[in-house]
């Protein structure tokens, strides 16, 4: 499963996000991911993909594409 698919799966199953709304250019806040949800998502991604995202700085103003890129960078690091 690709990084994008992993994140999409988490957003749909854990946050109830509409899969059709998850597009690279969409800001995370548009998916109703506030700062609390973003921190929760970070934990879920870390657990699911066995990576450490502590030094990744993302806010709800960042887009899905930027999130995927940041995570992908850790996966391939």
């Amino acid at each position: 499963m690709s990084t994008s698919q992993e994140i999409t799966t988490l957003l749909v199953t854990e946050f109830g996000t509409d899969p059709l709304a998850i597009r690279p250019e969409v800001p995370l806040r548009q998916l109703r991911l506030d700062s609390l949800a973003l921190e929760e998502l970070r934990l879920l991604i870390e657990d699911r993909m066995d990576i450490d995202l502590e030094d990744v700085a993302l806010t709800s103003r960042d887009t899905v594409g930027e999130l995927v890129a940041a995570v992908h960078g850790k996966v391939t690091a």
């Binding site: 199953t13 854990e14 946050f15 109830g16 996000t17 109703r32 609390l36 921190e39 929760e40 934990l43 657990d47 502590e54």
Partner: protein
């Protein structure tokens, strides 16, 4: 009935009696989900409540509890909403939706700034707290959820209900252990009386399937350890009672200023006519051995309603199935109310839902007033001969009564009583 109001030692005139209209109820219990199902579940002698072994409690002397059957909160509330609630808040929201729909209320009817929420809970999100403590101990600080505070605070149920309903009046939690739900309804009564709001969604919510709490309760010897027959373990007023059995649930009333209810032509189920509360100042866990604290609360509630003992025809007692509570409470009820009231404890069908108990049992008392029917005290096979009141057992008993009482006692000596009228 005599309209004498509450006495004041300072010479101020007593408050005029005030009867808040109950226009909606919501019940989420082990006896049934929804008011109709729960009422049937407590009245039908053949009904089987949802009680039994829980794997989370495996190995403990008490490894069973009452749980709400067949409620998929992810489906009912939605993934996004339920994610931000621990289970006690989820149950509260389900009950609130039912109560508000039952009252015929909603955004098109109410002024949202005049709608309040007061919900009692003893332990809030303790199960989530317990899980996160385990994560901290076993996996380190970076594995702890950022949701700990919002999910575990006792006000989580009140804030979740306010958000779900989109109401903007005062919202708050009440936490007085096992009298929390009753105190929440009493607080709502006072808010309506003083004009702080027009409508209050009030009651209690609790869900504590939590190994940490059960381990402590077992050490305290407060819970029944009848593991071979969990369905018969809770037996209020029975000579063989050996402790309470924890349950989860939520019970909420929609209470309205009577003028507000009248103006919109609402169907009124019953009224909350009086409230009294007191403190034992005696023990962290044991009730006052003479029941003086709960007596004070009950006498205050009667005076607040402008009623006398002879007016009361039914009592939904705290009746936890502990040796101490049931005898002390029943003796007090006989002392204050005499032999007329038909007394019941519905806990053998719902479990002891701790902070939710007062809300659930007040809603059941409303239904008893409406149906003129008192649910039986289940599992009361061998009545304790020292119990001096008329406890309904075996099957529901019809009665003729306009006024009823709900009593609650909480760890720490928090006593509360409500007077409900037709």
């Amino acid at each position: 009935m005599t309209a004498r109001g509450a006495a004041s030692p300072w010479g101020r005139p007593p408050l005029e009696p005030f009867a808040a209209a109950v226009t909606g109820i919501g019940l989420v219990t082990a006896a049934g989900v929804g008011a109709d199902a729960a009422w049937q579940g407590v009245c039908d002698p053949a009904a089987l409540p949802s009680v039994g072994y829980r794997p989370e409690l495996d190995g403990l002397p008490c490894d069973f509890m009452y749980t709400v059957p067949g409620l998929d909160t992810r489906a009912v509330l939605g993934v996004a909403a339920q994610r931000l609630m621990d289970r006690f808040s989820q149950l509260a929201v389900v009950a609130a939706r039912e109560a508000v729909a039952d009252a015929g209320l909603g955004p098109e009817v109410w002024d949202s700034g005049r709608v309040a929420v007061v919900i009692g809970s003893a332990h809030g999100g303790l199960p989530f707290y317990d899980g996160q403590h385990t994560a901290l101990a076993e996996r380190g600080a970076r594995r702890v959820s950022p949701k700990l505070a919002p999910l575990t605070v006792v006000n989580g149920a009140a804030s979740s209900v306010a958000m779900d309903l989109g109401v903007h009046g005062p919202s708050q939690a009440v936490s007085t252990a096992c009298s929390s739900g009753t105190v929440a309804i009493g607080t709502a009564h006072q808010m309506l009386r003083t004009g702080a709001c027009d409508i209050v969604v009030a009651g209690g919510a609790e869900s504590v399937c939590c190994r940490l709490l059960f381990a402590s309760a077992c050490q305290m010897k407060a819970v029944s350890t009848r593991r071979d027959d969990p369905g018969a373990a809770c037996r209020p007023f029975d000579i063989h009672r050996d402790g309470f059995v924890v349950g989860e649930g939520a019970g909420l009333l929609v209470m309205e200023h009577p003028g507000h209810a009248r103006a919109r032509g609402a169907a009124v189920r019953a009224h909350v006519a009086g409230y009294g509360a007191s403190s034992d100042a005696h023990s962290a866990v044991a009730p006052d051995p003479d029941g003086l604290g709960i007596e004070r609360a009950l006498r205050t509630a009667l005076a607040d309603a402008g009623l006398v003992a002879a007016d009361i025809g039914h009592v939904n007692a705290h009746g936890t199935s502990t040796v101490a509570n049931d005898l002390i409470e029943a003796t007090m009820l006989h002392r204050v109310l005499g032999e007329r009231p038909l007394v019941t404890s519905t806990k053998a069908r719902t479990g002891h839902t701790l902070g939710a108990a007062g809300g659930i049992e007040a809603a059941l008392t409303v239904l008893a007033l409406q149906h003129q029917l008192v649910p039986p005290t289940a599992n009361l096979d061998s009545p304790d001969p020292r119990i001096p009141v008329d406890v309904v057992s075996k099957e529901a008993r019809p009665g003729v009564f306009d006024c009823a009482v709900k009593t609650s006692l909480g760890f720490g000596g928090h006593n509360a009583a409500l007077v409900l009228t037709k």
